[in-house]
């Protein structure tokens, strides 16, 4: 099957107050795979995500989504073109219930305007029901169906990480950016996230993952892109990258060890 490139970064660069946070980063993400971006702290991973998802504008370089240049587009327009993301530090709608959070994820598929909404025309009622059904289904996929009516602000941290994924999935993206989905999760929760990611890819959604948990990365990734100091250090299949001496050095600062630095347990 020919691999279609759904997302590509071309020589992305950005500086913040004199510090070059990203310098000429490029990669192509093929459809239907899990593409992971790893690197030591401060390597520029979240900055990269912010560039791709339209929260910042690069000083140089381009982002292409399904072949089209989307470089300076704001997040809401990227969402309509099928890009969605989660947040490392969680951006939950705490005053909404869990299912309402996910319902907001369906926003780009909802078509009624403000006048119809004010008058609550029958179409709005039908749409509300459809949205709620799809949202409930998304919640069930991440295992949160029991807490659907709970205010999101009262949920446990691990649940919130999964809630954000369900919410992003509800928008039916082509490409899903997951920003450290397992951060702060215990091994059981991490395993669950792993299963969820596999399920996502099975549904033909391309996943771009930023993650520190190497076990998770090794278990789910098809390709890995290593960043250090804002530059690409290496890219390749998971097994290759694991043995790459430059990568090992970047993580451990040790030269010439034959032990793979990124162990799989």
């Amino acid at each position: 099957m020919a691999a279609v490139t759904v997302l590509s970064a071309e020589r992305l660069s950005i500086s913040f107050g004199g510090v070059r946070a990203l310098d000429g980063v490029s990669f192509d993400v093929a459809s239907g795979i899990v593409f992971s971006i790893i690197g030591p702290n401060g390597a520029g991973k979240t900055t990269l995500f912010n560039l791709i998802s339209g929260l910042s504008v690069p000083h140089d370089g381009h982002v292409r989504l399904c072949g089209k240049d989307v470089t300076a587009l704001p997040p809401e327009q990227l969402a309509r073109r099928g890009l969605s993301r989660t947040f490392q530090n969680l951006q939950i709608f705490s005053h909404l219930t869990a299912v309402e959070n996910v319902m907001v994820g369906r926003h780009r598929h909802e078509v009624t305007g403000i006048v119809a909404d004010l008058l609550h025309l029958p179409a709005v009622g039908r749409q509300n029901r459809r949205t709620r059904e799809r949202a409930a289904a998304a919640l069930a996929r991440v295992g949160l169906e029991d807490v659907a009516e709970w205010p999101a602000g009262s949920l446990a941290y691990g649940d919130l990480k999964r809630l954000e994924i369900a919410r992003a999935l509800a928008s039916e993206p082509t490409v899903l950016l997951l920003d450290e989905p397992a951060a702060g999760c215990n091994p059981v929760e991490t395993r669950e996230i792993e299963d969820i990611i596999r399920g996502i890819v099975d549904d033909d959604v391309t996943v771009v993952l930023v993650e520190h948990d190497m076990r998770l990365v090794m278990n789910v990734s098809d390709r890995i892109h290593v960043l250090a100091n804002g530059r690409t250090l290496a890219e390749g299949a998971a097994a290759e990258v694991r043995m790459n001496p430059a990568v090992i050095e970047a993580y451990l600062g040790v030269r010439g060890t034959s032990e793979p630095a990124l162990a799989v347990g």
């Binding site: 998802s53 339209g54 929260l55 704001p74 997040p75 809401e76 990227l78 969402a79 309509r80 969605s84 993301r85 947040f87 951006q91 939950i92 709608f93 705490s94 005053h95 909404l96 309402e100 959070n101 319902m103 907001v104 994820g105 926003h107 780009r108 909802e110 009624t112 305007g113 403000i114 119809a116 909404d117 004010l118 008058l119 609550h120 709005v124 009622g125 749409q127 509300n128 029901r129 949205t131 709970w150 205010p151 009262s154 919410r167 992003a168 928008s171």
Partner: protein
């Protein structure tokens, strides 16, 4: 088959009906307690400010924005029904509608740049805007009668002159119920969910495809129209308006009303309005102390009652369920 089962079976919107029905019942029965026309008038005034409060609640309570100049829009509506018939020969009812449209237009023009601001910048920008409008109303004496104000011609609906506190009571009660129904509709809709989402995290909302700037502008316009309608009614019921209707003090009263009643609560708009309308009436003996008391109320509400009366009572009744 019981009513509830019927409602359930046809998936009828139970929640919206639930909160308006007791309200409607109260409105129907209340006049039985009124010893004189004066009470009808006070109730009518409560509805007027509650209508303005509904709009401001949508903006502040749901969308999480702030407007410290909202009385400016009340002024637009009020002066529209005064100037239209007196200076332009436009019938009062049409002036009423035109006032609302004008408010919407002003909100559209001013809202676009202003809503890019946040926090105290937004607060002060709306404050400045409100005061600017008040200054215009005070200065353009040829149109507005200046600081002394102008009379408002009576509204005549199909040869029936609208006057009498009782008539206004029913008209305003009906208007409030319509306004409340529209607000409740909006809340239970994609726009409503998007607004509530914006309140909690604009970034996440954007990433999910919500055009945050557009939504904020839409709700600003809606809330301006509510204020304009309230202002028009105020002018018509009083038969006279002065620039105070759009003044700084009035804008702050509106905010205090919304916070006091409970941000994000439709019923709260009525409660907040009731408190702030009845208080000066109760204090007529101490008219000189009105500002002093208002200041204390604003401070007290913002320091101690930020949750608002209605949500706090509702939470207490529910017994702190998580």
């Amino acid at each position: 088959m019981s009513v509830l089962a019927l409602l359930d079976r046809f998936r009828l919107p139970q929640h919206r009906l639930v909160s308006l029905l007791p309200l409607a019942a109260l409105i129907l029965l209340l006049p039985l307690l009124f010893p004189s026309a004066y009470y009808y008038r006070v109730a009518a005034l409560i509805f007027i400010f509650a209508i303005a409060g509904l709009g401001l609640n949508l903006l502040m309570g749901f969308a999480g924005q702030v407007s410290l100049g909202h009385a400016g829009f009340m002024g637009v509506g009020a002066y529209a029904v005064a100037i239209g018939p007196s200076h332009l020969g436009i019938p009062p009812l049409l002036s009423f509608v035109l006032g609302a449209l004008l408010s919407a237009l002003v909100a559209f023009v001013v809202g676009r740049p202003i809503l890019r601001l946040k926090g105290h910048y937004l607060a002060v920008a709306t404050l400045g805007f409100g005061v600017l409008l008040a200054i215009v109303f005070t200065n353009e004496a040829n149109w507005t009668g200046g600081p002394d104000g102008m009379t408002v011609p009576r509204l005549i609906l199909f040869h029936w002159p609208l006057r009498g506190a009782e008539t206004w009571y029913w008209i305003l009660a009906a208007s409030f119920l319509v306004g409340a129904a529209l607000a409740l509709n909006l809340i239970d809709s994609p726009t409503g969910r998007a607004l509530r989402a914006i309140h909690d995290s604009e970034i996440a909302a954007r990433v999910l495809g919500v055009d945050v700037a557009e939504k904020k502008l839409m709700i600003f316009i809606v809330s301006a129209v509510y204020a304009s309608v309230a202002g028009s009614y105020l002018a018509l019921i009083n038969g006279y308006i002065t620039p105070d209707v759009s003044g700084f003090l009035r804008s702050i009263e509106l905010v205090a009303m919304v916070v006091l009643g409970g941000m994000g609560s439709v019923v709260g708009s009525l409660v907040g309005s009731a408190v702030l309308v009845i208080l000066p009436q109760a204090l007529t003996l101490f008219h000189d102390y009105e500002h002093l008391v208002l200041g204390l109320i604003v401070m007290g509400v913002m320091i101690f009652l930020r949750g608002g009366i209605v949500p706090s009572v509702a939470a207490a009744l529910r017994g702190w369920r998580p």
